[in-house]
Subunit: 210 residues, 4 copies
DNA sequence: GTATAAACGAGACGGTACGTCAGGTCTTTCT
DNA sequence: AGAAAGACCTGACGTACCGTCTCGTTTATAC
């Protein structure tokens, strides 16, 4: 968003927050109805009951709108919470992420990450507002897992993160239609990866592993 | 591609294969020069020295052209070869895939998979021509790894595939700029995942693991 | 009009003359309905059932369209015919011109000449296609009037033209609403210019006249 | 102009006359720099360092501003003064008008009269503030010319005005680029109209003249 | 050898959307 | 209460491409 929240007292008529909101809503509605590739600034403006300039005053193009709309909607999904062990912390948060991706969140985030492959601004935004916060928490979880003796020392937390969440995004993004993001799948991934991460492999695994 | 190679003897002037080739070449050149989102049928036709109809006679839209152009270029990259153990087979092929993704192949495949998130035809094509062949070979490798006693029984080969290749695609597609597809990264992933997959976890790991 | 009628062999699909015609018709209709200043390429295209590009392919802007439309309509009005004397030739053609200006022709030509005050291309077009042909004929009429002994020698035909037609355009263009382009007015102008205003013509003239 | 100079005691902050002046100045400057058709309220406001509302509070649109700016500038040009004879009075004032039209005044008035062809308000304003005062004086000059025996009786002063000034406006407004508003031209017009074109003036006139 | 058929390049066609500009209005803060 | 600033909705601008449709031409097979 261009909006600079400087403390300078605003002169002139202030931005209409209702307009901003109705633009974001319209973008999501239209994306749902006609698909992301058929989105147009013109269409969003019409649906939002707003002039095109009102959109261009706030964003540079439709995808910037979509980014704000989607991320606002998506960020509250699937937080990472800590449990007793790193294994349980990750298993729980991966399950909730998979659940989110099975529903609306996946429908919204997939096109966004897709578009990010050719749109540097969008890529940067997704990184800063979606990926990085999650990586940050994961690093903490890994750190404590090592401290507590649950995990081997010398682990690169980012590699752990890739190893655990990579499979989920693989099924989400790399075309393979028979691949559900089921809980069973998550459990298998966790077992596979933790089996190798734990100092005492084979011990304390998830029941599904037996 | 629409081209149906029926045995019926063609009447009229035959398709000009040189035109087909120059269209594909032009598409890749332009993608490289102006980017994938700035590609247009018109531009490709002009660059290829070809009428627009000649393109539309062969493909439905630019992305179908791109798909053919990219996949033709990409399929020969990173074959999966078998080594003595499943671990070594995967490690070798993952290394060569990562190498390919670090170069031109990644530059071409990323936009394609990105676009596949909102283009069903493209998604289907990527699945059939890129993903499925690799999954098929991987299943075989896993099967033989179990047969030979290297791997635990009851493994779902597709989950193994996700667990191993997921991290690579994660770094390729999910924005996180400090994440290189280095050989060290591949080795770590292999170690993490195989440490959990092996019947006797903790034994016979890659030297890097010690 | 951009249309270059060169002998160059036409390549590609030929221009649709029906489209050209319907554009010109639509322009005149809209000018009549909403006025010349409310004309827009968009409006004309919509009315003509034509894409905007089809208009821009032929003309540079609305006023160029209007110019073609108006001049095509107007040029056939009020030809200059020769009579026995120059006086009668001019009187007749001035009358018919005044009549034309009282009706549709005036309605069309006034905005055109108005716009020509700030539009160099239009000015040039009006000159070449409307004014110049009339001046040319007038010069001939004056020349023969002199030959035949009806008119004084040494006359500048263009000044004569200005003296005769100027008053008509004065009433047409310079705002003065009580001034009709009546036949009586024409006759008075002809009499004044051909016969002089002075009670004793030829006396007291400016030295320049000698 | 909207400005109503009623005696009503002004309430609130009084109009800033400096703003009014700088708007008019900005309008003329911009007209000179970018041309009359590229004038915009926005541009004038920016140049004058004034809000758009400040302009809209005083005038209805740009052309109303231009009208005020131009007429204020132009009205003082080329007054009609009386000389010994009507012929000399007109000759002198026509010369000074032609001179004005050759310079800045022509550059300003031409677009204004041009625009008046499609703008009723402007037409009315030009009539009242430019044309009518000149016609009024001319009527007086003609009246006295008749009284004094210089001019024939029964003349319609407005027709005389058209006959004398029409040729000037003809050259000014009707595109004919080789036509200068020279003094020689003025003299010829005066001679033609006052003295007649015919070698033997008074002969062969139209019946209406008797 | 002459139809017949289809592909070819060129480019016009009716459209959609782009991103920009200006119109004229409205709302806020400052003077 | 006027002025500046600037956001608002509207509507048109001129451009780029879309995917379709003639054109006249070329290159094959079929008669």
């Amino acid at each position: 968003m261009k909006n600079n929240n400087t403390d300078r007292k605003a002169r002139g008529r202030p931005r209409d927050e209702a307009a901003t909101a109705s633009i974001l809503r319209a973008a999501l509605e239209l994306a749902d109805e006609v698909g992301f590739d058929a989105l147009s600034v013109e269409g969003v403006a019409a649906r939002a009951g707003v002039g095109k300039t009102t959109i261009y005053r706030r964003w540079a193009n439709v995808w910037a709108v979509v980014m704000d709309a989607v991320l606002a909607d998506v960020v509250r999904a699937a937080p990472i919470e800590e449990h007793a062990t790193a294994r349980e912390s990750f298993r729980a948060s991966m399950r909730s992420l998979a659940k989110a991706y099975r529903g609306k969140t996946g429908k919204l985030l997939r096109p966004l990450i897709g578009r990010a492959q050719i749109d540097a601004d969008l890529r940067q935004a997704v990184r800063a507002r979606w990926v990085e916060p999650r990586r940050r928490i994961a690093r903490e979880v890994v750190r404590r897992g090592v401290e507590r003796g649950e995990l081997r020392e010398g682990l690169d937390a980012d590699v752990v993160f890739d190893a655990l969440y990579g499979p989920i995004y693989h099924r989400l993004l790399v075309p393979y239609d028979d691949a559900p993001l089921s809980e069973a799948f998550i459990d298998q991934v966790v077992d596979h990866v933790f089996g190798g991460l734990e100092r005492n492999p084979g011990g304390g695994g998830h029941p599904a592993r037996r």
